[in-house]
Subunit: 252 residues, 2 copies
């Protein structure tokens, strides 16, 4: 499994991915699911992937191969993130067409999806979610972030914290809490966590950090968040046991 | 969708279910997914269901029809919860065999699963999770609770709070928080919430309560829990932005 999240805020963008892959619980490995394309002063583009690793690696390989030819439309000369998303969707479709039928023949899931976001000079920062069919959607003021992979455990904290005005340090913190919740409930999502922070209109990566399993901040969040949740839970009052429509007896 | 949870603790048991069903977002209805079988002094048995509503209703109907014949093995004369689980599994299989092929012909998911728990005089309290195939598993000291339906959003709080020694009021509180998280993230899970509390060795229902949408306790938990989470989040320190392996620039 995988967990990736990306958010597009007024102050800039956050991208994060875990590094665990598994083809069954007896075949766990580490792969970086994040790729950063940076041409300082011109563009920063980050891709995150979830799903079939061979499909998503081949897709990124194809994208990078195309980038060698400046005559072709490629990730370095696209004029918009929309074009980049189309390009990535086309690469994904090409790989799916090539490999998909062989995988489904063997009951192997060929699905793979991408988040791609960043900023190209002349545009606002943009973030897209590319489905396994190659079509895609974009964030808006109503929907600031996308997740792919094991999305559910880590969604509530993002729902509660992220707004367009959220600062980048606070957004990064919420993403780490989101990963902590996910890793606690799904062992197939695991560190290291790759994290990229991008400041709006900077056209360079502000922070590119790999948080290993023993990372002090990861551990601190893990413990303090657990304690904070327990405190919040303890402070909630108990239910009024007698105040109900079916009083059989009362617990004291 | 549905969300049901049941827990088996030293002090007794908790059962809870939501009441929303949907066959597409344009066809939302309310159905009670909980059934209580109580013979005071002898047994309390509670069933919770998730999945195809026609299948699960028919299964419960068959179970209740069998109960009319005291010559047959039925829910009132089984000597153990294990036998009750077999009986319910058999009913589920019978209904699946009858209706399943017609549903799959029309691409309708015939899956349905049950939680069944309680206590029959002569036994400890027991809790079973009956799969759609009719086979089942039982809780243990390592796994105290089962969930069916939309299980992920509401699992983290149960993982953190529930232990064999958890009191019944505290367990009920954790279940309400678990429902609050689930309802916040999945609109197809909704109130009213049916809640049953059973005290060990009492052989009668201690509390059987329906929490409607405007229930004061449900609203109180909703608001106070949200505030408690935000407080816990605010108290977490920000990441040290400069303390990383890839220092490009630093955010202040």
């Amino acid at each position: 499994m995988t967990y990736c999240v990306a958010a597009n805020l007024n102050a800039g963008m956050i991208f994060a991915s875990d590094s665990r892959t598994n083809a069954g619980v007896d075949n766990i490995a580490r792969f970086c699911k994040m790729r950063v394309f940076e041409n300082p002063g011109d563009r920063v583009i980050v891709t995150l992937t979830s799903g079939n690793l061979a499909i998503s690696q081949s897709t990124v390989n194809l994208l990078m191969q195309k980038a060698r030819d400046p005559q072709q439309k490629n990730i370095w000369n696209c004029n918009s993130l929309y074009e980049v998303s189309q390009l990535l969707g086309d690469c994904l479709r090409e790989i799916q067409q090539r490999d998909g039928p062989y995988l489904t023949q063997h009951n192997i899931d060929p699905n793979s999806s991408f988040l791609v976001g960043g900023q190209i000079r002349g545009e606002e920062p943009r973030l897209f979610n590319i489905y396994t069919e190659g079509n895609f959607i974009e964030t808006s003021q109503d929907t600031l972030f996308f997740q792919i992979g094991e999305t559910k455990y880590g969604k509530p904290i993002l729902d509660r914290v992220l707004s367009p005005a959220t600062s980048l340090p606070e957004a990064a913190k919420s993403v780490i809490v989101s990963f902590d919740s996910t890793m606690r409930s799904n062992i197939s999502v695991g560190p290291p966590i790759d994290l990229v922070v991008y400041e709006r209109d900077s056209y360079k990566v502000a922070l590119h950090k790999r948080l290993e399993e023993n990372d002090p901040y990861l551990n601190l969040v893990h413990h303090q968040w657990g304690e904070g949740l327990k405190r919040a839970f303890t402070q909630l009052p108990d239910m009024e046991w007698r105040d109900d429509g079916y009083p059989r007896s009362a617990l004291s």
